[in-house]
């Protein structure tokens, strides 16, 4: 081995993109990144960002950063989507569209991977960080340093998948990289390796967060907050974190085994050599199905909060909501085979999993009815969080019907891997997960930032998403019946599919306008923040504890830890109207730490090294990460004290913003 290949591994000058669109994407990303760095440097903001944000262990700060990174990744994933729609609307008959087949396949693989792992998971953990400690009456999560590590691992994973746009290529094997297509024999380039390691690194962050929030909810609830007094959002997060803890290790193993096949020539999933590709599919979906419930359960929780507050009513059927969530958690582990009914497992096995899949529709249906009954005899304010909810009910129900159809194995034989399937899962994820998170962001924004979002642009964004969605995915349901499979980069003109693809393309553009309105909403809201200040800490007349602290919430959340006597604890406090004198005490909070950043950076570098076989970099990265971790464990002085006098002063300062009753 010569020195060049030792230092640079498989890197060479040919790793840079050559097609115009790929070059354009890479250049755009580099330019935006450099501009941002230049702007921050010129304004001298690095110190502020480092001390107030990057090294912060405050989950509210970490939560905001998660949502920002996820939003950036949403832009990238949406750009992928628009390119895909453009290709499929134009690549008919003699025309080959705007992308080569290989490029198109990279784009849809990146689109799915980014949207699930870096947009949906990022938004979810962002909201969980922002809200859960406040909702349970705690000051922080169970393991604050681990929280920072989780976030920075998420960033490292996202960074790696973005680097693939500039250096090397990305996987062409779809967002789940089925073997043997994803094995070295059929995917010899760096693409699948980037997929493996960006997901592995991001997934590790998710697993650590799962442990963190599970322990937080179990161990750190306010005094008196028994299980059946927890807010619904916290319950669904508990369910989701339980799923994370059980499902993500399966992903870790599966990605590792594929990596071992590709890097060390093993034969877990190869064609021949004693590999069994069906094992991969079972393992990846044993993770994959719980994953979609991980994403949607917190969204259900958000809707429970939003519907009850915006209908000025208690949530209907709290008990059955709790038990249906628990039911969903258990059942999500016995349905995974419905993702591959067509793999030939036989009628008995297929029927069993089909039945289990239909069963899991029951608790979801129960939730729907309970939400509607929450609206019953309420005083409903149709502000944008409630609009997102109504859009969700309409679309998610229809998508759910499609899901029940697909749950029948015999029906699935005709619809599997068609655009009907694609339409179904996009319906669930957009109208369920994304609409829910959008509603949550709007709902909790004032608690974090101290002012509400501009409602006009919020409504415009909603209508663009809603109408855009129907136009973008309605045609896909029809195309599935027309025999159109997914992931096609070209089709015959005689099939009559093009008009439908054009409509779908228009829908995607309308969704893009929805995104643009959301960006405008943020900008306008910041400009108008003084008109929309949240002076009371309770802008929506909320029910739960997060609304009992001032807006924006102080770093320590509660000056005095609350004691809970019932469900909807804040509503109860407001009813009781108690204004007992407040006894301020010293508050202990974690100190900032840069070690999370260093650890994640080293892991990220190791990931890059594995992709390009730069073994010295892998060694340095892994050993370095371990060293950082050990250094942290030896540090016994990780906390700092906020003296009672300081807390008192801070509370007074926040009080002067407006009346605040406790």
């Amino acid at each position: 081995m010569n020195w060049t290949s030792f230092i640079f591994g498989k890197l060479s000058w040919s790793v840079f993109p050559t097609s115009p669109i790929a070059i354009g994407g890479a250049v755009f990303m580099v330019v935006v990144g450099l501009s941002l760095v230049t702007y921050i440097t010129k304004r001298g903001h690095w110190k502020y960002l480092w001390h107030e944000w990057f090294t912060s262990l405050d989950p509210k700060r970490i939560g905001v950063m998660y949502i920002l990174v996820a939003s950036v990744m949403l832009v990238r994933g949406s750009a992928d989507a628009l390119l895909m729609r453009a290709q499929q609307a134009t690549s008919v008959g003699a025309s080959q569209g705007i992308l080569s087949p290989e490029h198109f396949q990279q784009i849809f693989s990146a689109h799915g991977s980014i949207m699930i792992f870096f947009v949906a998971m990022g938004l979810m953990f962002g909201l969980i960080n922002l809200v859960v400690p406040l909702q349970i009456g705690a000051r922080d999560v169970a393991f604050p340093f681990l929280n920072s590590v989780s976030f920075w691992l998420f960033v490292a994973g996202a960074a790696l998948i973005n680097v693939s746009l500039i250096v090397g290529d990305f996987s062409t094997a779809g967002w789940l990289s089925y073997p043997p297509l994803s094995e070295l024999a059929y995917s010899p380039t760096s693409g699948v390796d980037y997929w493996i390691w960006s997901l592995q690194i991001g997934g590790l962050g998710s697993l650590l967060s799962g442990i963190n929030f599970l322990v937080t909810i179990v161990k750190m609830r306010a005094k008196g907050m028994s299980w059946m007094r927890m807010p619904m959002f916290t319950w669904t997060v508990l369910g989701a974190m339980s799923l994370v803890v059980f499902a993500f290790p399966i992903l870790t193993v599966t990605l590792t085994l594929l990596a071992l096949d590709r890097t060390l020539g093993m034969h877990f999933f190869t064609a021949g050599g004693g590999g069994n590709m069906m094992m991969y599919i079972n393992l990846i979906w044993a993770w994959g199905h719980p994953e979609v419930y991980i994403l949607v359960l917190p969204a259900f929780g958000i809707f429970s909060e939003v519907v009850s507050v915006f209908s000025a009513k208690k949530l209907a059927g709290y008990t059955s909501m709790v038990f249906s969530s628990i039911g969903i958690v258990f059942f999500s582990f016995v349905v995974w085979l419905h993702h591959f009914f067509t793999m030939g497992a036989g009628a008995d096995v297929n029927a069993f999993f089909g039945i289990m899949t239909a069963v899991i529709a029951v608790p979801t249906g129960v939730k729907m009815f309970n939400w509607l009954f929450t609206m019953y005899r309420g005083r409903i304010r149709f502000e944008s969080p409630m609009l997102w909810f109504v859009g969700f009910v309409i679309l998610f129900t229809l998508g759910g019907v499609a899901g029940v159809i697909l749950a029948e194995p015999a029906a699935d034989y005709q619809l599997h891997n068609s655009l009907f399937l694609v339409a179904h899962f996009h319906t669930m994820i957009l109208s369920g997960v994304l609409f829910g998170y959008f509603a949550g962001i709007t709902y909790w924004f004032p608690k974090i930032f101290g002012f509400t979002l501009n409602e006009k642009y919020g409504r415009r964004a909603f209508w663009c998403w809603f109408v855009g969605f129907i136009l973008a995915f309605g045609p896909l349901y029809i195309l599935g019946f027309m025999g159109a499979t997914r992931r096609l980069d070209h089709y015959d003109a005689s099939l009559g599919w093009q008009p439908l693809f054009i409509v779908a393309g228009i829908g995607a553009v309308i969704i893009m306008f929805g995104l643009i309105f959301q960006v405008i909403q943020i900008i306008v809201s910041i400009r108008e923040r003084h008109q929309h200040r949240d002076l009371t800490g309770d802008p929506w007349n909320g029910h739960t504890l997060e609304w009992s602290v001032p807006s924006p919430a102080p770093s320590y959340n509660f000056a005095v830890l609350p004691v809970v006597h019932s469900r909807d604890a804040f509503w109860a406090q407001k009813d009781a109207g108690m204004k007992s004198p407040i006894e301020y005490t010293d508050i202990e909070m974690p100190k900032n730490s840069a070690l999370g950043i260093f650890l994640a950076a080293l892991v990220g570098l190791a990931g890059f090294g594995i992709v390009w076989h730069i073994w010295w970099l892998v060694t340095v990265g892994i050993l370095g990460a371990f060293a950082v971790f050990i250094v942290r464990t030896m540090d016994d002085e990780t906390e700092m004290i906020i003296p009672a006098s300081v807390v008192h002063a801070e509370e007074e300062r926040l009080q002067f913003r407006g009346v605040h009753s406790r």
């Binding site: 161990k219 803890v245 034969h267 050599g273 590999g275 050990i630």
Partner: protein, 217 residues
């Protein structure tokens, strides 16, 4: 409370509307989290490790017959060798238990002796396992020979890797005991480490049974 800096528009928003951290000079540290939270968190982590091993066991079960014309378990395993490995690891767990008892009684020298002994036994286990692997690779039955061998090396190797990491942790622990004695924080770390060590022992029993013993039935 407000930090004074030269803020621009965006920074102003973020600073004013999300309260800045209240940084203070260091006071003496106080344990925020009760030990029970850390302990519970560690059990949850162990549960994830258990799922990880379960996935590897499931993969092994599916691939154990995929020898692709090469040797199966009964061809390459030496049960006597495995028995020695097992005795060594089980003994190390026993010594680990005794070490925790000594720690409760506050005897630093005994604790150090116990930790070092456990470590030596663990290191011997790892050495034996690595030599078994090297032998297999040298004889042309490496992890790239067949699906069975890939899954064998990976399952047993993952366990071995966990043991090796446990040894690294042990070294750090010994350092902590030497420098800080049996403080509350060191005791807690000792407890966590010993739970981890026993967990690895239990996994080994599964491996011993499912991988090695079942190869001969």
């Amino acid at each position: 409370m407000q930090k004074k800096s030269d803020y621009s528009f965006v920074a102003c928003i973020l600073d004013n509307y999300m309260n800045t951290q209240t940084h203070n000079s260091e006071h003496e540290q106080v344990e925020v989290h009760t030990g029970s939270t850390t302990l519970f968190g560690f059990w949850v982590y162990l549960m994830t490790d258990f799922v990880l091993f379960a996935s590897l066991f499931a993969t092994f079960a599916v691939l154990r017959g995929n020898t692709f014309g090469g040797p199966g378990g009964h061809d390459i395993f030496d049960l006597h060798f495995v028995l020695i490995e097992t005795i060594i690891l089980l003994t190390s767990s026993f010594v680990c238990g005794m070490t925790l008892l000594a720690a409760r009684r506050g005897s630093v020298p005994r604790v150090l002796m116990g930790l070092v002994t456990t470590g030596l036994l663990g290191a011997t286990f790892v050495f034996l396992e690595v030599s078994e692997f090297v032998k297999l690779v040298a004889s042309g039955n490496g992890f790239d020979r067949s699906g069975f061998l890939s899954s064998y090396f990976t399952l047993v190797g993952t366990h071995g890797l966990h043991v090796a990491l446990g040894l690294v942790w042990l070294i750090v622990l010994i350092g902590a005991v030497l420098s800080r004695g049996l403080s509350e924080s060191t005791m807690r770390k000792l407890l966590l480490w010993s739970i981890f060590w026993h967990f690895l022992d239990i996994i080994w029993i599964f491996i011993f049974t499912i991988v090695y013993l079942l190869a001969f039935t």
